[in-house]
Point group: D2
Chain length 487, copies 4
């Protein structure tokens, strides 16, 4: 059966070898550890939804590989409709969990990036990467596995290329090619949702030249593979996750970001999808970027919906009508729908790839990345403005104090307003969590920086065509070329 239940999913995680650490401790069971359980619960909801008649159309689709219903997170995107359905799912998932479930979505991006890349690779080099990927994906779909994705290398000194670094491990690389596979060393950092994943899909971190060909590598591995050490990062207010009470207001969702350290990890060749074909590393990255930057507009819109709802809850709990904040709410709606819409348009204006996948428009995908990296900040600010001081930053006592046997009654007395003190406090915590707390996803640099997106915008914007349009309109015949940059 291609669709796991939430319990089967959790069981699959419990079977993995513990290799994740945080705060100096080894996490024995990711479904129980306070550092990882929230994100696991978040991902679990995808599995519950798969079996919920109300939601299953949102989160599942029929596989063109195995002919069964599968998770959309394991599907190939073959049409604008597929892509739009994926965006809708992501917005829905933010509604369910309040935040990011990156442990499935980045893996999905990797699949859809390497599908066309391996197709092209094989065409040029006569390799069999595409078939390997197909075989593995068939397995993944049949077993409904959860796949995180990893691109970002530590990179070391940004003034130097991978092979120029003092330490060659600053970017993940192949240290040995064996008959039956490869050995890799290095790290991938800031990787989302690893704790909630069964496997991890690795892509090259950038485009490479010949001298860096050992860095052009793509493969997929079980999360608990030998030689892989994982350290979870620290996030804002993350120790609250160790507590009871409502200071982490959301129990059914959460984020993790991990550093993955590869100490001579062996990857069998049937799981390797690129091996030193450096010319295609940039191709893999660009193929990744387009659906990622298109769909992420739905993610931040979904969280924006939560910010709106939470802010209005506090306002009403304060005794203020949402109408007082019409101007601000409208701006929040506009921000949400803008990132959502630009992503949808990138899908609608995409093009089919010979390998069968649908590729989003590169210009609009990258325009969306810039919006995704900026508009949610304004939406957060407006949520704090609507919700008032209590939800801004550091202006409400802890849940422990709220229930303190000695003086908790004072807080309960004075936090009461139009609603009960408890509801008001919880709503305020939700605003804090989503705008300055543990629920804030990395929308600025996640999936690449806005400056990188701007480079791609310029590369795709066709300036010269616009210049020709202007020349024709103004009746200018003279050739006016680009001058040298001023000394």
């Amino acid at each position: 059966m291609a669709l796991k239940t939430a319990e089967e999913y959790k069981e699959s995680l419990r079977k993995l070898r513990p290799n994740i650490h945080k705060f100096g401790k080894l996490i024995e069971d990711v479904t129980k550890s306070p550092y990882t359980r929230c994100t696991v619960e978040g991902h679990s909801q995808i599995f519950s939804a798969q079996h919920n008649p109300e939601y299953q159309d949102i989160v599942t689709t029929k596989s063109n590989l195995i002919g069964e219903q599968i998770s959309r997170y394991l599907s190939l995107i073959c049409s604008p409709e597929d892509m739009i359905a994926n965006s809708k799912m992501k917005r829905f998932l933010f509604h369910l969990t309040g935040t990011c479930t990156g442990g499935r979505c980045v893996g999905w991006n990797c699949i859809n990036a390497m599908w066309p890349t391996t197709y092209k690779l094989d065409k040029e080099y006569g390799t069999d990467y595409h078939q390997r990927l197909k075989n593995w994906l068939t397995f993944a779909q049949k077993n409904d596995i959860t796949i995180a994705g990893a691109l970002t290398d530590p990179k070391g000194d940004r003034t130097k290329s991978p092979s120029q670094q003092d330490d060659p491990d600053m970017n993940l690389h192949i240290v040995e090619e064996k008959k039956d596979g490869i050995v890799v060393k290095g790290a991938k950092v800031m990787i989302c949702g690893v704790a909630a994943a069964n496997e991890i899909f690795i892509l090259p971190g950038s485009g490479y030249k010949e001298e860096d060909k050992d860095y052009a590598v793509s493969f997929v591995i079980p999360r608990d593979i030998e030689g892989l050490t994982i350290i979870e990062t620290r996030r804002p207010s993350d120790t609250r996750e160790e507590e009871e009470g409502f200071d982490i207001p959301v129990k059914c969702g959460g984020i993790t970001q991990a550093y993955l350290f590869f100490e001579n990890v062996f990857v069998p060749k049937e799981r390797v999808f690129m091996c030193k074909e450096y010319k295609y590393s940039i191709n893999a990255v660009l193929n990744f970027i387009m659906p990622y930057r298109s769909a992420i507009g739905a993610c931040v819109a979904g969280q924006g919906d939560v910010k709106i709802g939470a802010a209005v809850l506090v306002a009403r709990a304060n005794g203020l009508s949402s109408k007082v904040f019409n101007e601000k709410l409208t701006q929040m709606y506009i921000n949400n729908e803008t990132t959502y819409a630009v992503g949808i348009a990138a899908a609608a204006l995409g093009k089919p790839h010979p390998s069968g996948v649908w590729q989003c428009d590169p210009l609009l995908s990258n325009v969306n990345k810039v919006h995704v990296a900026t508009l949610p900040y304004q939406t957060s600010m407006l949520a704090q403005e609507i919700a008032g001081g209590i939800a801004e930053t550091g202006c409400m006592p802890s849940s422990v104090d709220f229930y303190d046997p000695q003086y908790g009654k004072l807080l309960q007395k004075y936090l009461k307003a139009k609603s009960s003190a408890e509801s008001r406090a919880k709503a305020a915590r939700l605003v804090e969590w989503a705008t300055i707390g543990a629920g804030v996803p990395g929308c600025m640099h996640g999936g690449g920086s806005p400056d990188g997106a701007k480079l791609l915008i310029r590369a795709n914007a066709n300036l010269e065509e616009k210049v020709q349009i202007a020349k024709r309109l103004a009746g200018i015949k003279e050739d006016i070329p680009e001058p040298e940059k001023k000394k």
Copy 2:
């Protein structure tokens, strides 16, 4: 043959009775008058494109009424693809003309608004408006007629409804119903492209209640109908259109806005599509708004392309590489693509109407209106910033002085930079024309105000759903209703 040539189109205009005035004068021939010839030339390019193999797929489509290729401006929008093709056409037309060709596009909106409205009207009232519209549209398609559209009434005192006005004519209304038609009185104002149109399609200006039912009226008339007096408005720098030289840098495009005064105009009943069915007046307006506000994103993107091209031309003529302005150009690209994309997404997420037309998403259409009313201002500002003082405002002598036999040589000497003085001056004029001159379309209030759009955004944004999402996430069970607005 359903596709006129440019010459046939102009000829059709020349046949109309002169009833347009400007500056106290009657315009005898709109194809020749300096006040109207630019916009006629702009519209003519649509007809030329229809016969140009390179462009005909952009501007024509196959009719589902007459089975022939027709102008997209006369087509029913029956799918997201139709709508997206319309957006692409509009962006293309701005490239061809530098500005708005509202004399065809608003009429197209009226057709696609009244198609579903008459369908519903007939269902409820057993009337035959839908068939009348179909008959007329068949005629229009077969004869490739150019149709302006008109909604905006003078409105008088905004504190009063139409029937409460001191002067009942402040909104166009039915003064008499005859067996074979209706007699209307009043005005429609700020109507785009009337001088370039053969006919004018009238919609009600707003939603009306029973006491205002005489104002619920829709029909189509020849531009030169008896009783109709038209006065063209004054636009920035419009008297330059009376001159030779390059101070109006664009000859192949231009805008007109007209006031239409109806002094007891008789409209035969086969051309009437709504007659006092006041409940449906809001329906007509909303059906108009959705495709209009979706497609206009492509219009301002198209003009944004011109602003980019023109600004870079001046910069290069000044000796500056466009790379110096990378950050500004990127913002201009983002602005253009955002309005374009949100419109595309409104199409992609639209829904089919039982009458057969495709209706754009109302939330995204209205979000787009807000962007359309704001982003082009920033794009203009950036164009002026890139182009430098010469193109900002009032910083370059006239074309007359440039060619003055006595001192013109001084201007020609000193305006020379990296390019010739003439090319530089023309490019600077194009920036001025598109950002503060005769080429600036009314993107703020055209098709309704952004505040009106914001009302519709709030009406479609589903706030309570977001509140429920937040309550579930924060584990709040208490009912927290909207309080009364604070005294």
Copy 3:
């Protein structure tokens, strides 16, 4: 001697009765408790600076009451120069501590608010509040005491005035007037720096009408007065302050916000500065707002300086020149200098009050509040953009893991870039701390909401004067009054 040393200051805090709680625990020594020591260290630096020849002119001034050098935080503002010097001090203090030292500055505002208010009060009612304030201020200056300030009441249901609340304690009020003083009950919430203060200055929270006269009260009390219970709030990532290591990167500064619960607290009459004179409650609030909203522009500029420095440190540690980020840095400079400058201008355009103090311009003070509530968000966003993913949110492992004996070396290896791993990690933590962590001050609602400021902007903007100017310019003689708001 009017200027304490840092050690004398800490000693004065240690002498106070413990009455501050956090996480269910009573804080025995605020100078040692992890929950309060950072803010105490921050405030201590003011005292060190008082004795540092390089800094003493910044933080001290000569008293016009006692004729000695005193802390500027205890001084009366009698000229624009005084006010500007105060702004400079605040920017400097943010440089020293990285964040807010509200335990001195709000008290200073209260002094300068009640000085003119008591002056006017006495003129009207023949009371002796002004002399009481003078006596107490003389004492405070002579003993260099640290004074927090408190305005914000819990307020309860915002649809009701204080006396209409179900619970009359929702706003702090007088429950009994005795011969020698008053008894008060209620709470003040979200009060900054109480843990670092010797005394607390209370102001009414709003303007009141006669039925709410019991709420019109101002006084000053020792922080450890009988009947006062204090609960510290929870701030983002505050439990990190319990840890060693660099996850709280700044040890010499920090914020606290407290809830103060008054359970029948007796205040002797010589410390009472307003007692039911409800007409003057709004006066006190407005007198508070003007210097507060003027000076806070320097605060957020000071923290903006830190954000710039920290972001550039990470960028350089990454191997990227600050020049890459010129556009972003320029925007950060502009944001910082704008809030700083508008505050300075509010001082420069202020007016003398008959009581001797200088009052900042109300229009500009409130304009500044709006900037203060918005620009720092953009500055934070830009800091995160420059610093990269490592500093954005949740993308770097903990200090504990960094030094872990088993796998810490992996982090140390891979976090190395152009600088050492440790410097890079510390700089990244500083960006996090200042933009999404424990160092973020409440610039949105602190000192009142931006919507409140906007009300005051409109009240001070003199719209009718502008309308008259326009009428004269356009040659309009007709009276065009404000119509009724549209139904």
Copy 4:
């Protein structure tokens, strides 16, 4: 008597030799020509105000040279109070005229720029420029002359320095040094208010190196000097100034921008203030920039006031209360007061120069330039949004049509709303004039570009100090220098 009347001022203009051209015609009398009379009327109001008891303190001050009351436009700025008074005057003048009176204000800037420059020049070179300037200024004050100022050269190809240009005249330069003076050739372009001025003060257009020393020149000349040809530029809708009626709604103010062509003009040495001392050319420019960019904040605020008043007039004429637009009006107030305040702060934080003048803070002056180049665009947009379609662009018939004997009554009938049609039309024209018409001053590039200002912001922002602050706070000892820019 140092203070001319308006009539004396106009008489002084009429005495000048006609050397100004527009549209191929020589302007015989600038006080009567439709192309120049509006700006002359605007400047005349300064002279009327000098004799109006209500206004004379605003526009006059006591000279420290001649001991009499003089125009502030001829005064040396010796204190922050002087500078602030100048800002207030400028805002007031925009209220009186609706727009810029650059024919006096730029000259004033030149005086205050060359005063400290000549002081330093003489110190280094033992020249007597400072005394020459003093003598001339004494004459100017005694005769209340009106002085335009000119910096901007045509510049030719921006990739080349002045001496590298193919045509050496692309920047104004000294072609001959004679015993009693110098001969200059070249041009100054985009010069404001020349038609309203008696004299023109020339400054070098940039900083120059030794090879360009012939371009380092400053002097003052009568506007009608032999060899000087002046051509007025074309501004938006400027031909309306040839008409009667209200399409130019403001008769008491207007702008001109001129190109000045110097064909071997002889300047006597007592009027020369810099002659090839190239090292000081940048000094002159920077000394000019500081007061200019400080005071211009008041100018755009003053015009912003007009935009607010005009927009509200139209709204009220439409029947809409200004309260409907509270959010927009507040943003307009904020924009206005921000540019005003940052300029005031630049004055308040300035420093005295050894020559006796007060110099505004360079960082804040340049921050203000960026605001001045951006905020007024938003203010204009908001004015158009409030005023509605009628005032946006091209949506109202001409004044000629309004009064047309045949159909004018139709316009008069239908333009009536809450006010008369005429008042409504005039108010709408005022919005158009101030936002997209002949009243729009060049706030983007006037006095230099915002990109130039950003360079100076970075030069004055002291980045390294901020980095040191951050290092200290984060406890980083390691040296982290600026890396090389990434390849």
